[in-house]
């Protein structure tokens, strides 16, 4: 199977996770692990750049929901940017967008989350 790749950077108090590949169980767990490690350090704002992820399944979505639930305890935020139309539609249907925000790009997400 092809690998799901992530790159992580911190911009002010926001952790930006850029993904590359199929956001499924494996991809979701990778993101979840990154979020957990940062949450342990007290970081609670995450922006996931999904520009290079064109496909997501419901397992991947359910993991994102779990991350949102964890962040709710610390009044943290999970947001996404650069979503492919099909991914955005999936997020809407699965109810993800009620508890998290979609931004056009990283710049817009960072400026809103850092505020």
């Amino acid at each position: 199977m092809s690998d799901f790749q992530v790159s992580v950077k911190e911009v002010d108090d926001v952790v930006v996770i850029a993904t590359d590949g199929y956001l499924n169980n494996i991809g979701g767990e990778k993101i979840s692990d990154i979020c957990d490690k940062h949450m342990e350090k007290g970081v609670n704002k995450f922006l996931i750049n999904l520009e290079k992820t064109s496909v997501v399944n419901s397992i991947g979505v359910s993991i994102l929901i779990e991350i949102i639930e964890k962040l709710q305890d610390t009044k943290g935020k999970l947001a996404y940017c650069k979503l492919a139309p099909i991914v955005e539609k999936t997020f809407n249907i699965m109810g993800l967008t009620k508890y998290s925000t979609i931004y056009k790009d990283e710049e817009a997400g960072l400026s809103d989350l850092s505020a």
Binding site: M1, N57, S58, I93
Partner: protein, 679 residues
């Protein structure tokens, strides 16, 4: 402080705790928040330092909240015996002794060890009816005292509330699960809807298959997948698209219709789930633990297969279900129809490109006209001929496009009304220019069923040929012009050495004769004479090289060579003599002086080509052969034909000849053998 006061204070303290409990249960959201708050109240109320609240789902336990203990959350579970034992203590206290009995640390089963880690002095199983929802554990009191009946009573009251709350949370969880299931169904339906839209709009097979594949993989939570397509005249299946697969595996794997599982797919035309690795090499080949294979059926035939592997869950790979087959078959059946459409579209496009390529490569202009009389298409030659851009032609009505060519418009009209073809040759195309000469034909355009669709006009621009014809026909016969136009490979107007036969004819005593005639009569006599002679020359496909005064020079073998060049030259000469005799008979009858021409013919190598200056250039032949031909002519008496040995050798005994005395020719060391053709 009296005992009553102490008891009252304790009751107040417990009532405050219950009040606080009410707030926690109302205000906290989620099991985690509630159990955290409730545990804090229990520990504070009962003065305990250690405790935990555990949820139970079937046999699996999860510590939702804990304080003062370091129990491993993982692997915490209950076996059936323990669950059964707990039912005897529904929402009531279990003391340490009873706990030990239920969770015997010495048991070979190591699971109870983890419960031992909880260091519970007291435990309350939380039952809603017969359903064990959780367990509250409590360690010893701070002060080492034992739990009193009041403590246990208040613990039971709190635990009853907690049970109700956990039950409510379970209901909420179930509703959430149902909502998630509903959303997944919506997602499935949306996927099917999106796919059907894509299938109607996407006509590229590769793009289409990729769309179907990634939608199928994501909807069925498969880890990866690929689509195989059939190949013409081959049992092999080629990979049309893949998603999340090992590229090397996809490229190197060989799939055949006759191998498992495809032989079954082709036989039954039904989807199958493959999970038995031992008996299935396909799983080994793909690396899947389990996969689902569905045929892509379009137009009754299987055009390929969609393969999805390893259904994901949070707990690893799980089996595909009947519902997955239903969804995949719904997707693949739509894909089958769409891929058929896409293939058809590709074939139509290929046919269209093929036609356009043919139409574009032919020199004849081809214009199609629809039933409204508008131009539907025009090929490259047509665009060139009409000197307009394609968009200036297409959509225009033919009556406007060919407004200056009424004959063409009438032909189009007649073709459309009478459904017959019409053609005209060698006519000017006035819509272009009066100098543009064309042949055109108009034919009705019909479909396979014979329904009238419009007309097709073919216009052949023959302006150049016309010019060539007009130019050449003065020098060569029509048949030679036609040969040249049919095959311009024969036409080499550059310099080249070639074998030709040259014929010279010259009027004997013409200078003296012309001195007795008026200039006008000289011209008309010569014109009549040449006209007769040229007819004969062209009859035998000779090339009229030049007319100098009363002398004619004719070439056989340039620009086109033939095997019988020499023979035709002799035939021409004999014809000229015979024609001249008749010509003279007429002249004599009219009281005019006969014209006596002598003819000389030689064969040999010459240099042929366009010779002259850039302003005046003529196609001619030069060389010794030509000079000797001219000399032979000068030796020929009136109405006599003299040929060289090279001509004699060519014609053999087909013609009667008589050898004459060799003649001396300037520039030739030896006398030249000559022959007289007897007419």
């Amino acid at each position: 402080m009296s005992g009553n006061t102490q008891y009252k204070d304790k009751i107040d303290f417990y009532l405050n705790s219950l009040d606080e409990l009410g707030e926690v249960l109302i205000n906290q959201e989620g099991s985690s928040g509630i159990t955290k708050g409730v545990l804090r109240i229990i520990l504070g109320t009962l003065m305990a330092s250690k405790g935990s609240i555990i949820t139970v789902k079937r046999t699996r336990c999860k510590i939702l909240s804990s304080h003062g203990i370091s129990a491993q959350q993982k692997n915490l579970s209950l076996n059936a015996n323990q669950k059964k034992a707990l039912t005897s203590f529904k929402n009531s206290n279990i003391n340490q002794k009873e706990i030990k009995e239920i969770f015997d640390p010495k048991s070979s089963d190591d699971l109870p060890v983890h419960f031992a880690d909880l260091k519970a002095a007291i435990m309350v199983p939380l039952f809603h009816k017969d359903n064990l929802l959780g367990i509250v554990t409590l360690g010893k009191k701070f002060d080492g005292s034992t739990y009193q009946s009041l403590d246990k009573k208040i613990l039971e009251i709190i635990c009853n509330h907690l049970t109700d709350s956990l039950y409510n949370q379970e209901l909420i969880g179930n509703i959430k699960d149902k909502r998630m299931e509903l959303r997944l169904k919506v997602l499935e339906l949306q996927t099917l809807f999106d796919i059907s839209l894509s299938l109607n709009s996407v006509l590229d097979i590769k793009e289409l298959s990729t769309e179907v594949l990634i939608r199928s993989v994501s909807t069925l939570n498969a880890s990866s997948g690929f689509i195989l397509e059939t190949q013409k005249n081959s049992p092999m299946l080629s990979v049309l698209s893949s998603f999340n697969m090992n590229e090397d595996l996809v490229k190197s794997a060989i799939f055949s219709k006759s191998s498992i599982p495809f032989n079954l797919i082709w036989k039954d035309k039904k989807s199958i789930i493959i999970s038995d690795e031992e008996s299935n090499p396909f799983l080994k080949k793909t690396g899947y633990k389990e996969c689902i294979v569905s045929p892509i059926i379009g137009n009754r035939n299987i055009s390929g297969c969609i393969v999805l592997g390893d259904k994901e869950s949070r707990d690893g790979v799980i089996p595909f279900e009947k519902n997955d087959i239903d969804i995949l078959e719904a997707l693949s059946s739509q894909a089958g129809i769409a891929m058929d459409n896409a293939k058809l579209f590709e074939e139509i496009n290929a046919a269209k490109r093929f036609n356009e390529s043919i139409m574009g490569s032919i020199a004849t202009s081809v214009i199609t006209i629809n039933l409204l009389g508008e131009i539907d298409s025009v090929n490259k030659a047509g665009v060139g001929l009409l000197s307009k851009k394609t968009n200036e032609i297409v959509g225009e009505h033919y009556s406007y496009l060919f407004s200056k060519d009424q004959n063409l418009c009438k032909a189009i009209e007649s073709a459309e009304i009478e459904l017959e073809s019409f053609a005209e040759l060698n006519v000017p195309l006035m819509s272009k220019s009066k100098n543009t000469i064309v042949n055109f034909s108009v034919a009705p355009l019909t479909d396979q069923k014979g329904s009238h669709l419009g007309a097709v006009v073919a216009i052949e621009d023959i302006t150049e040929q016309s010019k060539i014809k007009n130019t050449f026909k003065r020098y060569v016969s029509k048949s030679v012009v036609d040969q040249l136009l049919d095959d311009d490979q024969k036409l080499n107007l550059g310099g080249e050495e070639r074998d030709v036969t040259v014929l010279f004819s010259d009027i004997r005593g013409f200078t003296a004769m012309s001195e007795k005639m008026k200039p006008k009569e000289v011209v008309s006599t010569l014109n009549s004479y040449f006209s007769e002679m040229i007819d004969i020359i062209f009859k035998y496909d000779g090339t009229l090289d030049k007319i100098v005064g009363d002398e004619l020079m004719v070439v056989f073998g340039a620009p086109i060579s033939r095997d019988d060049d020499a023979e035709r030259a002799v035939q021409t000469a004999i014809g000229m003599v015979e024609s001249l005799k008749k010509f003279n008979d007429k002249r004599v009858k009219k009281g005019k002086v006969p014209i006596n021409a002598g003819i000389g013919i030689n064969k040999g190598k010459v240099i042929s080509g366009n010779i002259g200056s850039k302003d005046q250039m003529d196609y001619t032949v030069i060389g010794d052969t030509v000079n000797l031909g001219a000399r032979l002519c000068s030796f020929a008496g009136p109405l006599k034909i003299i040929v060289s040995k090279s001509v004699k050798d060519e014609i053999g005994d087909n013609y009667k000849t008589r050898k004459l005395e060799p003649i001396k020719v300037k520039g030739k060391r030896k006398p030249v053998e000559i022959f007289k053709v007897l007419t």
